[in-house]
Symmetry: C3
């Protein structure tokens, strides 16, 4: 329970940083930073909680979440100009956020005794939807769509590893660590070394 809460806080903070970086690329004002940061930070977990009918939605019961997201946005507003490359920073922070949010989704779904398929889906949804909302609203190409990168795949593998580990070990906390580690390793390997799955390509001659 406490570990789940910590995961939710960490996920909110790091996703808020990525949202604020996206806002800096769109040259918004400080309230725009807070808006995009908050949307990114709570979007994935909100989808998870609404679909699973978990009440209250995690951040409405604890206003600290949104205040934390706002603080992250203000921090980025005043420091983003110090970064060498905001785009690269955004990619890597997003990888960290994914590696925290996927276990947050997996953990909540396991706590609610959902079947394994739903646990995996909730891990993917919690990990991917906040960033997806950020990218759609900011008119950036959604990260989940970047060809030849592991993104949803990293979330899927991490969530599956977490479910398997929880089944084998019968202890939840190490399973969540496995889940986050697998997610981060695959995503980071894809960013750093170009790891990828084969993508669909139509035959050249027709269509």
């Amino acid at each position: 329970m406490t570990a789940l809460l910590a995961l939710d806080y960490a996920s909110v903070f790091v996703f808020a940083l990525t949202g604020a970086l996206a806002a800096s690329r769109a040259q918004l004002d400080i309230v725009g930073f807070v808006f995009i940061a908050s949307l990114t930070a709570v979007g994935g977990g909100t989808v998870r909680d609404v679909v699973l009918d978990r009440n209250p939605v995690f951040w409405t019961g604890t206003p600290g979440f949104v205040l934390l997201a706002a603080a992250a946005a203000v921090l980025v507003f005043f420091t983003a100009h110090l970064m060498e490359s905001r785009h690269r920073m955004l990619l890597w922070l997003d990888a960290c956020a994914l590696a925290v949010a996927v276990p947050a989704g997996v953990g909540v779904a396991m706590m609610m005794s959902q079947p394994a398929v739903i646990v995996v889906i909730m891990g993917i949804a919690t990990g991917c939807f906040g960033g997806l909302m950020r990218d759609v609203v900011c008119n950036e190409v959604p990260m989940v769509l970047r060809q030849g990168e592991l993104y949803v795949t990293a979330a899927f593998a991490g969530a599956t590893a977490g479910v398997v580990a929880a089944h084998v070990a019968a202890v939840d906390l190490p399973a969540l660590l496995v889940c986050g580690a697998v997610t981060f390793l695959l995503r980071a390997g894809s960013l750093q070394f170009g790891w990828r799955l084969p993508v669909y390509r139509p035959r050249p001659p027709r269509n």
Copy 2:
């Protein structure tokens, strides 16, 4: 009840095919196919169930839905290169999916004894929102926006016909058949013969 379940399965399968075709146009990997296919497949019904507070959301109680969507995605991943025109296939499969999803939405809302206006809206929402999410995420022009085609109109007419038929016949199953048939005929007629309503055009001289 069983007919409704069959409609939900059919709608999930055909919408998943369209999602996977959209993923093939975006040249994603196989996990990306499954992701977009699942989002398209369950998106409309999820909006319906969340707005009507129907618990659990249809696919969380029955993991078979998402597995079916995943199977459809894998099928398309390995066969899409055999198609003459993936865009044309996408349009026609989407028409079939619409004609199945609208009665699925209408049927659930009628079963929940919603008023006629809400039944019609739920038919439209269940039919249109999965494809809308697919198009927004994949950066395609939403089908609901293509000028001079019947799309929302087909869903609206089908849902209305279903409500009227249920009122006249006092039997639900034939009403759902009428609903699906009207939806498909209007959408197909629009694709094949260019049936349309007049669109709004500003006066040429000003504005």
Copy 3:
């Protein structure tokens, strides 16, 4: 309670007008007008009600809301060609809708005894999400993203003023009036006189 209902009706009507204007810019047919108008009109309040688990969602219990939105769409379909500038009309109607929807969100959240942070967020969400959905679906640059304009900022200031006024006066209705007035003044001042907050700009030499 009655004041809240009136706010919801006014917000639905004015947002529906803006949705129909966006549909006229996309040159849709009359059913497309009604679809986009309804989505814009009920989008923000639906997010508010789903996140707060308020049942039923405001417009499902009262079909009159969607009928009102449809009437607004039909009105615009037949009169939009009379307007000098539909874009300017859209901007100003959207400002009015924002100034009505923010207090509608604030009022509902206060009535549900939410903490102040959540009340402010629900004001912003109710005010901004309908227009955001309209802009994303219609492929327009979201108003919340237009650089150097007060939009989310106006909603934030209005919602905060409303919370403070309710705390000071201990009466809700005047507080909602303050909330709407502050929102409108800031948004209108931004449109008319170019009021703005400083936006983030990277240092010129690098990045």
